[in-house]
């Protein structure tokens, strides 16, 4: 199997692509392949990972032009073309380098974030936007003696969003984030929506107004890439659509319509 890997480090004018070839054992993941390459060909390849089991969200990268978790993506189905995800186009997933999808696995850093080295991107911006939505529970009532009970049905919707592991795959897949750098992006907005619907939350409505600006709810163009690439099936675009709908209702009510 052939591999084409994005290489960049400080001081380089532009990235280069390194090529490698080896026969991976059955079941090897992209992360496994990176370790293999590091140990057997070039120990300077830089990438981030932690849990190796699709839990921590550290290893997201652009694999065959789709943002994915390296530890959750197996090589065999990838090369056989079984893992294709059709995405709404944006510049980073256009042809930036010659690549034969039937022969080679192409591994590049996550788009829309500055590259620090090879496959490592600077996540600061992603987490700045995350902090902007105040991602902590703000209950109104005092702490109950035992616990805050919730209706299981409400929890079902909540869980769709709490499953997020902050991998930024959606951020790297969103054409709007590419075009408008100050757009908060799918993950942060999904998180904000999650607090809006949380029955234990005290400020539900004012939560919505936190992103009532173009770079918040209103810049989303519903490409839907976020939902397609999310390794945890979080549907940011549904949260965004519902938030907009609610905001419109609230505003109309205020206008006395």
């Amino acid at each position: 199997m052939k591999f084409k890997i994005f290489r960049f480090k400080e001081g380089m004018e532009k990235p280069i692509y390194d090529k490698f070839e080896f026969e991976p054992p059955t079941g090897m993941t992209v992360l496994g392949a990176l370790f293999y390459l590091q140990q057997n060909f070039d120990d300077s390849i830089a990438f981030h990972y932690s849990c190796r089991g699709a839990v921590c969200g550290t290893c997201a990268m652009l694999i065959n032009k789709v943002p994915r978790l390296a530890c959750r993506t197996q090589l065999e189905p990838l090369i056989q073309g079984e893992l294709k995800i059709p995405l709404s186009p944006y510049s980073a997933i256009e042809e930036t380098v010659a690549w034969d999808p039937e022969e080679e696995i192409l591994i590049e850093p996550l788009p829309h974030l500055p590259v620090k080295k090879d496959l490592i991107v600077d996540m600061d911006k992603f987490f700045d936007y995350y902090l902007e939505v105040e991602p902590v529970l703000q209950p109104a009532d005092p702490e109950p003696a035992l616990e805050r009970l919730m209706d299981p049905d409400a929890v079902k919707e909540l869980e769709l969003y709490t499953n997020c592991i902050l991998c930024a795959s959606c951020f790297g897949s969103c054409p709007v984030d590419g075009a408008k750098p100050d757009y908060l992006g799918p993950a942060a907005l999904a998180k904000l929506y999650r607090f809006y619907i949380d029955p234990r939350e005290g400020n539900n409505e004012s939560r919505l107004f936190l992103a009532d600006k173009p770079s918040g709810w209103w810049d989303c163009e519903f490409h839907g890439n976020c939902r397609r690439v999310c390794p945890k099936d979080v549907p940011p675009l549904i949260g965004i659509a519902k938030a907009r709908e609610k905001l419109n209702i609230i505003k109309n009510r205020k206008d006395g319509k």
Binding site: K9, Q38, Q39, D43, S44, K116
Partner: protein
């Protein structure tokens, strides 16, 4: 590491008239780590350490699995010694000052070799079976001799085996049978 530091700073801040601790021991440790890394990065020839890591995995898997006995474990301990020897002369190519994953893995392997030896020493001396430490040569649990914690200290660069009594709570310990 991150939270430890925040907590420590906070404690010092909160305690009235607390004396600021000496920073020199910490800075000294940082300097010696820096020097150590410099020396490691200068090493150019020798075995690449990745193969030693693979071999350590095999040794630990085969000689220190759940079912163990004196002879296999002694062999295993001997192998760990040889791996340590190989490790001391090993190296890697990556000389980069940032995101040097090879360096991290190298330092990790150094620690893993120590831990492997600790596991081996404790297991060999524990001549009984207890939980997942299942010795074919001592199939029974022996509370009389081994109801105690194994403690291994580092003394002058060497590992030394000790024991510490177990603090028993409300319940009298007894063998678990399934």
């Amino acid at each position: 590491m991150v939270f430890g530091r925040i907590v420590a700073d906070k404690i010092i801040e909160e305690i009235p008239n607390a004396e600021k601790p000496e920073t020199e021991p910490v800075m000294g440790a940082v300097r010696s780590m820096h020097n150590k890394i410099e020396t490691i990065l200068q090493r150019d020839d020798g075995e690449k350490f990745f193969s030693i890591k693979t071999d350590l995995t095999v040794t630990m898997q085969e000689k220190f699995g759940i079912f163990r006995d004196n002879d296999t474990m002694k062999e295993g301990l001997h192998e760990i010694g040889q791996l340590k020897e190989r490790f001391s002369k090993s190296c890697f190519n990556n000389k980069e000052p940032t995101y040097n994953h090879a360096l991290i893995q190298f330092l990790e392997l150094e620690a893993m070799l120590k831990i492997a030896e600790v596991v081996a020493m404790g297991a060999i001396e524990r001549r009984e079976s207890r939980g997942s430490h299942k010795r074919n040569d001592y199939p029974d649990r022996d509370d009389e001799n081994f109801l105690k914690h194994t403690i291994i200290n580092m003394k002058d660069g060497k590992l030394v085996l000790n024991y510490k009594p177990v603090k028993l709570g409300m319940f009298k310990p007894k063998e678990r049978v399934y």
